[in-house]
């Protein structure tokens, strides 16, 4: 289980998170939505220690991770993987080596063994036939799939997806959605997905929490979002430019 307790975070003079609290149950697929710049990425980066809160606590599976040092965070990061918004593959390596890198570093396997493990992970996302090519040869969608494969190499219990379907074609988006669903159903992986892709939200999410102006305005199953009379939520869900939301 994951708990965010009253998180405050500012960057310079900009107050991004104003006391957010959230609970994510094991095996759940939790979507965090909101307009661009609302603080969604900032919030989830707290889980892996890439951002530290100004105030508040972060608890991962009973362990308080709020004030851990960089080194103390390493075992946490092996359990909680993150797939970034940009596909953040390492440009200087082949797709295969990209996926093999964490395997090499964390398991005592030879280069050949690590590479075959990596190939298996690439097969999970249907990218194994391109193993020897470089990230620059591919578009965003395929790079994202490889980034997901790389994140799964350490067999994490928790995975954070930062806008996994933004900017990729509908077919690839569907594949990514089904992968997230699969991870939860078959492997019991807890997923936190930052997104504003409505199709994913209503297709895959178990629960959805919406961030607006640094706080959660709604937190519940997708059906709640269709039925609520919260004007801000309705405006966002229906994509209306006019309304109480300041965009």
């Amino acid at each position: 289980m994951i708990e965010f307790i009253d998180i405050h975070k500012a960057f310079g003079s900009k107050q991004v998170l104003r006391g957010v609290s959230l609970e994510v149950k094991k095996g759940e697929i939790m979507f965090i939505i909101g307009s661009s710049g609302a603080g969604k990425s900032v919030l989830v980066k707290h889980l892996v220690g890439l951002v530290r809160p100004d105030a508040g606590r972060v608890i991962l599976d009973g362990v308080e991770v709020t004030n851990l040092t960089e080194e103390e965070y390493y075992p946490i990061r092996k359990r909680c993987a993150m797939v970034f918004q940009n596909s953040t593959l390492f440009d200087s390596m082949t797709l295969l080596d990209n996926v093999a890198l964490p395997i090499r570093k964390h398991f005592k396997l030879s280069l050949a063994e690590a590479r075959s493990e990596a190939k298996a992970k690439l097969a999970l996302v249907n990218m194994d036939q391109h193993a020897e090519r470089y990230p620059a040869d591919f578009g965003d969608g395929m790079r994202k799939k490889v980034a997901i494969a790389r994140a799964l190499t350490l067999n994490p219990d928790f995975v954070i997806f930062d806008e996994p379907t933004t900017g990729i074609d509908p077919i690839s988006a569907n594949i990514v959605d089904r992968l997230i669903r699969d991870l939860s159903d078959r492997l019991g992986v807890t997923s936190i997905v930052v997104s504003h892709d409505l199709r994913s939200i209503f297709g895959v999410a178990d629960r959805v929490a919406m961030l607006y102006k640094g706080q959660f305005v709604l937190d519940g199953p997708p059906s709640l979002y269709r039925e609520t009379d919260n004007a801000i939520v309705q405006q966002f869900i229906n994509g209306r430019p006019q309304g109480p939301m300041e965009v």
């Binding site: 960089e70 390493y74 993150m82 940009n86 390492f90 890198l101």
Partner: protein, 261 residues
């Protein structure tokens, strides 16, 4: 450009001082973190070899060309002086001494800073703004051990080795120019080098080369890792990196020169 009141000037000065202090502090911390990885030695062998190869291959041609030209230029300049005083026997000493102790390490250092330092900053900077550094951290891979230490070793080692090669090349270039321009035979050149140049001169220059290598490695890595602001930020970081390296080379050179006397 508005007129600056004294108070404004002072606050501007203070602000740039703080910026410089921040950079210097950041570099000191980086140097400390890198050195800590040597005791006990934990480094990524594969990455170290890869960087050694890359740095060597990238910088060798330009160092050789620069060294040849520098040796030639030193001879041309000393040649004018030597002709003035009719002291051709001193040509080898004049050109050789200055090359080994000063001009060699400095020129090679500057070229190295441009070729390797700028490249290093650009690479690390691009990785930083495309979140690849964060991706490493999220995979529980320490960027210092994986990225910085191999580059550090490669840069320092290569700077040292290439200065040796460069020194010799410069002397060769100088000897040839001496022959062509001044009619000084290479054997006369060589004998004046051997007679007047001491091994101490060579080691002096090599010690400087080592220090410059450390400076370039630390400065370029620091500016690379602290890049922000997309493509524009990368350009800015490279700019700051080469400027800081150049200043540091001259400042260090002065202090080493005065201390070692």
């Amino acid at each position: 450009m508005q007129a600056l009141s004294p108070l404004k000037l002072l606050s501007r000065f203070g602000a740039s001082f703080m910026e410089v202090a921040q950079d210097v502090g950041g570099m000191a911390v980086l140097l400390y973190k890198v050195i800590r990885c040597f005791f006990p030695p934990k480094l990524d062998g594969m990455e170290t070899w890869r960087n050694l190869y890359k740095v060597g291959v990238k910088s060798a041609p330009i160092v050789v060309v620069t060294a040849l030209l520098t040796g030639a230029i030193m001879v041309i300049q000393s040649g004018a002086l030597v002709a003035q005083f009719d002291a051709f026997g001193l040509l080898g000493w004049g050109a050789g001494f200055a090359t080994l102790r000063e001009v060699g390490p400095i020129m090679i250092g500057l070229m190295f800073s441009g070729r390797v330092g700028a490249n290093n900053t650009a690479e690390l900077g691009t990785m930083k703004v495309t979140d690849q550094i964060d991706a490493l951290r999220a995979l529980a891979i320490d960027p210092i051990t994986y990225l910085l230490v191999p580059r550090f070793i490669a840069i320092v080692l290569m700077m040292f080795l290439l200065t040796i090669v460069g020194d010799l090349t410069a002397l060769v270039g100088g000897a040839y120019t001496g022959q062509v321009l001044l009619g000084v035979s290479p054997s006369l050149f060589a004998s004046s080098v051997i007679e007047y140049i001491k091994l101490e001169d060579l080691f002096n220059g090599l010690f400087k080369a080592f220090t410059f290598g450390v400076a370039i490695a630390v400065v370029s890595s620091h500016y690379g890792m602290t890049t922000s602001g997309g493509a524009v930020g990368v350009g800015r970081s490279v700019n700051n990196s080469v400027v800081a390296s150049a200043v540091l080379i001259f400042v260090l050179d002065y202090f080493i020169t005065s201390i070692l006397h």
